[in-house]
């Protein structure tokens, strides 16, 4: 399947949940926030949120800023 991740079409393994996606992207779950189709996914719910083909996913984190 695929998802639009941060605006880029990305091929993903089937049956991936949000926790799996974060690990697939080699990120640490406590440094990012994930939004799926406009809804923020609470960290406690990462392993209960399955991704579907064509999902719009945003993965964001804090960066330097004023």
């Amino acid at each position: 399947m695929y998802a639009m991740i941060n605006g880029t079409r990305t091929e993903l393994p089937d049956g991936l949940d949000v926790l799996g996606l974060v690990r697939f992207a080699a990120l640490s779950p406590d440094t990012v926030v994930v939004e799926v189709n406009g809804c923020i996914i609470e960290r406690a719910g990462y392993d209960q949120t399955m991704l579907k083909n064509g999902d719009q996913v945003e993965i964001v984190s804090f960066v330097g800023g004023g």
Binding site: N6, D30, I40, E58, S61, F62, V63, G64, G65, G66
Partner: protein
Amino acid sequence: MHISSHSDSRTNSDALVIGGVSLTSRLFTGTGKYASDAFIPRVLEASGSEVITVALRRVDLTTQTDTVTRHIPEHMRLLPNTSGARTAEEAVRIARLAKAMGCGNWVKIEVIADNTYLLPDGYETIKATEILAADGFVVLPYVNADLMIARSLVKAGAAAVMPLGAPIGSNRGLQTKEMIRILIEEIPLPIIVDAGIGKPSQACEAMEMGAAACLVNTAIATATDPVAMAHAFGEAVRAGRRAFLAGQAPVSAGRASASSPLTGFLFDS
């Protein structure tokens, strides 16, 4: 010595309270533009700052990137900004994502649709403030130094008002000084001068005028020695605050006023 310890205790009891949090330092800092984020903990130690801004961005999935929060000590209060937002709706979305990071409920609203001067959109900022304050956020909006906008922000539930001294990152100082003075007079919220402050004397002047705090990023981060400049800003903000509390002596219309007695001269016949 006695006088100095008296003024110390007076300054120490002079906490700035925002969103129920009591702050000793009146210098807010930022995390942008450092040559290396490794400067950040040393800058915070040198300045005494207790509040620091961060921005929120998409993770770059093609490269391994460092996390800025790794360089921010635990005791700091994070003030995520909504930079990148061009509308109230976008600012609200960014604020909610930032809150989901689990670093508190403070947010600096920054809604900018002008790419040359990076001036804030007052109308959209007020709308975002209203929504987020009602949602339990501690909202610190970045705005033009404008009384009517500031009054609307008070009604919208802002925790402070953050007028700009000059355009972001310009280091041009307190160009909006008269308008900031009016905000300090009229607005019953902390006025935190954000943006444009380029050197410690300008931060000191803002504090002497009665500003509640200053937010300084570029002037520290891009100084030749950021840690030494952070120290200088910390001292300037403390000096300015003390001077404000002390009350400025009267200014004459132009004539001199002798500081020494005008009697008992040696040469009086």
